[in-house]
C-alpha cells in the first residue's frame, strides 16, 4: 500500500501523458498537469517555509553560533509574509494586484530583492574572470581547443577582433576573427550542441521509462 499505490500512480499517470501526445482529445493534459502542479506546490511550501521557520527558530532558541542572523531571517520572512498576505500599503486594497506600484510588497521587491539579486548576478563578472584564468591555462589538447574557440568568439564580439585581422584580404575574409567567430558559432558549435541535445532527448526517454516502469523508485522511500 505504502509503495505499491504510488508506483501505480507514477506508472499510470506517466503512461497516460506519453500517449496523450498522440491523442488530440487528451492533448490538454499537459496544461492540466501544470495547474495541478502549481496548486500542489503551494501546499508543499507550507512544508518548506515551515521548515525554514523551524530551523532558524531552533537556532535562536538554542543560541547557536550566528543566531543573530537567524533573527534577521525570521523577521524578514514574517514581515514580508504579513505585508504580502494582507496587501499592506497596496493602493488598490486587498483586491488589488500584489505587484501594484507603490504596494508594500513591490517596495520590498524593488528596494531589497532587486539590488541583492542583481549584485549576486553581477558577481559572475569576477567568477567568470577566475574561471577563464583556469580554463585558459591549456593543460591538454581538449583544453586548448576550448581556449582557442573561446578566444576567437570573445575577440569576434569586440572591435579588437577586426582591428587585429582587418588587414586580411577579402578573398580570405573567413580568417578575419569576426567572420571566424560567426563560422564557429554556426558550424562546429552547432554540431556539439546537437550531439548534446540528441543525447539528452534519448537520456530522458530511458530515465522516464525507468521511473514509469518502477525500476528506479528510491524517491518513494521505504515500506516502513
Amino acid at each position: 500500500m505504502k509503495r505499491t499505490v504510488p508506483l501505480l500512480i507514477t506508472g499510470i499517470v506517466g503512461t497516460v501523458l506519453i500517449v496523450s501526445v498522440l491523442i488530440p482529445p487528451a492533448q490538454s493534459l499537459g496544461e492540466d498537469f501544470s495547474l495541478f502542479f502549481d496548486i500542489i506546490a503551494v501546499f508543499a511550501f507550507f512544508l518548506g517555509g515551515g521548515n525554514l521557520f523551524r530551523i532558524h527558530l531552533k537556532k535562536v532558541f538554542h543560541r547557536k553560533e550566528d543566531y543573530g542572523f537567524s533573527i534577521v531571517t525570521l523577521v524578514g520572512f514574517l514581515v514580508t509574509l504579513t505585508i504580502g498576505l494582507f496587501k499592506i500599503g497596496n493602493p488598490e486594497g486587498i483586491s488589488g494586484s500584489i505587484t501594484a506600484a507603490g504596494s508594500g510588497l513591490q517596495t520590498i521587491f524593488v528596494s531589497i530583492i532587486t539590488p541583492l539579486s542583481s549584485t549576486m548576478y553581477a558577481l559572475l563578472a569576477f567568477y567568470v574572470a577566475s574561471a577563464s584564468y583556469r580554463a585558459f591555462r591549456a593543460k591538454n589538447r581538449e583544453a586548448t581547443i576550448l581556449l582557442v574557440s573561446a578566444f576567437v568568439i570573445l575577440l569576434g564580439r569586440t572591435p579588437l577582433g577586426m582591428m587585429l585581422t582587418g588587414w586580411i584580404p577579402e578573398q580570405f575574409s573567413i580568417f578575419q576573427i569576426p567572420n571566424l567567430a560567426v563560422w564557429i558559432m554556426n558550424s562546429a558549435n552547432l554540431a556539439g550542441q546537437r550531439s548534446i541535445l540528441i543525447g539528452v532527448g534519448l537520456g530522458v526517454v530511458a530515465m522516464s521509462l525507468r521511473l514509469i516502469l518502477g525500476m528506479d523508485r528510491t524517491y518513494l522511500g521505504s515500506d516502513k
Binding site: V21, L22, I23, P24, P25, Q27, S28, F33, S34, F37, I40, A41, A44, F45, F46, L47, G48, N51, L52, I55, I113, L116, S117, M120, Y121, L124, Y127, V128, S130, A131, S132, R134, A135, L146, G192, Q193, I196, L197, I198, G199, V200, L202, G203, V204, V205, A206, M207, S208, L209, R210, L211, L213, M215, D216, T218, Y219, L220, G221, S222, K224
Partner: protein, 402 residues
C-alpha cells in the same frame, strides 16, 4: 468576437484611408463610389484535422478585382439559420481562416465579405461543415514509429538483462569518481554538499538529480559521512528527504538519518545562491555535487567550491552552463550522462539494460545523419534527382515534426 471586431475596424480604417487618398483622382472616386469589388468565390469549410472538434478551416478563392482595391476579407459564420455574424477578418493576400472554439458536432456555414473602397461584397455561402474530433493524430506517425522503436529497444534490453544476459557498459569517469569523492569527504571528516539544481520536481533534470541522490546517499550512509542538501524548492526537499531516508534505511542505519539533511532555503534563485555560497565557505564541504538544472548560478557555485578546495562533480543537460562546469569542476557529466547516472550507479543489470536501449536510439540517429547528409550532399553536388527525392520523401518525411 472582440478580436474579430477589432480586425474589421482596422481593415475598414485602412480601407477608408486609402479611399480618401484615392479621392485626388476624380475617375477613381467615381468608380469607388459605385462599384463593389468582385466577391470571393468557392468558399469551402472543412473539418480541421487532429483537433478536439472545435476548429473548422475556411478557404476561398480571392476576389478577381484589382488587388489594389481589395483591402481584406471578413469571415461571416452562420449556425444553419442563415443569420451570418462576423467572426474574423484577414488581409487581402490571405484566403484562409481557422475558426476556433466551435461546438463539436454542430453544423456551420460561412460567407466571405470582400472589403473594397465602396463597401463589402458578399460571397455565396459555403456548404455546411461540422467540426469533428479524431482519436489519433496520424500526422505524428513518424514520431510514434521512432519513439516505439527506441522505447521498445529500452524495454527489450531491460528484459534481456532480467533474463540474465550480460550487458557491457563502459566506465564513465565522472561517475566512477563519485564514490571516491564521498570516501575522501569521510576521510577528511568534512561534509558532502549536494545541490539538485534550482528547478522544481516538474523538471526532468531535477528528477535525474533525485535518482542520483538515492545512490549517493547510500554511499554516504555506508561510509557514515555527512550530507548537506540545501534546496530551493519545497517539493524537492520533500522528495529528497524520502530518498535519503530510504538510503539510510537500506544501509541499515535508520538512526543516523535526520530530516535536517535536506532543507529548504528560498525559491529565489540568487537568494538561494547567496545562502549556499555562505554555507560553502563556513562548512567547507570536501565534496560538492551539482547535479540538475542550473542557470547563471552554475559558475558562482562551482567557483566558490573551487576556492575552498572541494572535489567537484557537476552534471547538467543545459548546454549553456556546461562550459562553466567544465572549467571549474573536476568532473562534468555532460547532458545524457546525467540521465544515465542513476542507472549506472545502481549497478542493477536491468537499469543498465536501459542504457543499451538508449544506445540503440543513438544508432538510429547516426544512421539517419549518415544517410541524410549523404543524400543531401550527392543531390546538391551532382544534382542526382533520386537522392533529392530520397532526402525529401524518406529522410525528411520521417524526421519532420508536424
Amino acid at each position: 468576437m472582440r478580436i474579430a471586431s477589432f480586425g474589421i475596424f482596422i481593415l475598414l480604417v485602412f480601407g477608408c484611408g486609402l479611399t480618401a487618398l484615392a479621392q485626388d483622382d476624380p475617375i477613381d472616386m467615381v468608380e469607388s463610389e459605385i462599384v463593389l469589388p468582385a466577391p470571393a468565390s468557392k468558399v469551402i469549410a472543412l473539418n480541421h484535422k487532429y483537433d478536439i472538434g472545435e476548429i473548422l478551416d475556411v478557404s476561398w478563392e480571392s476576389s478577381t478585382s484589382d488587388p489594389e482595391l481589395v483591402f481584406g476579407y471578413i469571415i461571416y459564420r452562420s449556425e444553419g439559420d442563415n443569420k451570418f455574424d462576423s467572426v474574423g477578418a484577414v488581409l487581402s493576400k490571405i484566403n484562409s481562416f481557422s475558426d476556433e472554439e466551435l461546438i463539436p458536432g454542430k453544423s456551420y456555414n460561412y460567407q466571405i465579405g470582400t472589403i473594397g473602397a465602396s463597401g463589402v461584397a458578399l460571397s455565396e455561402p459555403s456548404e455546411p461543415a461540422i467540426p469533428d474530433w479524431e482519436l489519433f493524430n496520424l500526422e505524428m506517425w513518424n514520431i510514434a514509429l521512432i519513439g516505439f522503436i527506441i522505447c521498445g529497444a529500452v524495454i527489450a534490453y531491460i528484459f534481456s538483462a532480467k533474463a540474465g544476459r550480460k550487458l557491457f557498459i563502459r566506465k564513465i569517469g565522472g561517475l566512477e569518481a563519485l564514490e571516491e569523492a564521498v570516501g575522501r569527504a569521510t576521510e577528511m571528516g568534512r561534509p558532502i554538499l549536494f545541490i539538485p539544481g534550482i528547478q522544481d520536481m516538474d523538471d526532468v533534470q531535477t528528477l535525474a538529480a533525485i535518482t542520483i541522490l538515492g545512490k549517493v546517499a547510500r554511499v554516504v550512509a555506508d561510509y557514515d559521512s555527512k550530507i548537506m542538501m540545501p534546496v530551493s524548492r519545497s517539493l524537492v526537499m520533500t522528495s529528497a528527504r524520502e530518498t535519503i531516508k530510504e538510503a539510510y534505511l537500506s544501509a541499515g542505519r535508520p538512526d543516523a538519518y535526520s530530516d535536517d539533511m535536506a532543507y529548504y532555503v528560498t525559491d529565489e534563485q540568487f537568494g538561494y545562491v547567496a545562502a549556499v555560497n555562505g554555507l560553502m565557505v563556513r562548512e567547507k564541504p570536501a565534496t560538492c555535487l551539482y547535479l540538475g538544472a542550473f542557470f547563471a548560478e552554475s559558475l558562482i557555485l562551482s567557483e566558490t567550491g573551487n576556492s575552498i578546495g572541494a572535489i567537484q562533480i557537476a552534471g547538467t543537460a543545459r548546454p549553456g552552463q556546461l562550459p562553466f562546469f567544465v572549467a571549474a569542476c573536476d568532473y562534468t557529466l555532460i547532458g545524457e550522462e546525467l540521465f544515465a547516472a542513476s542507472a549506472y550507479l545502481s549497478g542493477d543489470p536491468k537499469q543498465l539494460g536501459s542504457l543499451k536501449g538508449q544506445d540503440l536510439g543513438k544508432v538510429v540517429a547516426m544512421v539517419a545523419i549518415v544517410l541524410g547528409t549523404l543524400a543531401a550532399t550527392l543531390a546538391s553536388a551532382w544534382d542526382i534527382e533520386i537522392m533529392q527525392k530520397f532526402l525529401d520523401n524518406v529522410m525528411l518525411g520521417i524526421f519532420s515534426n508536424h
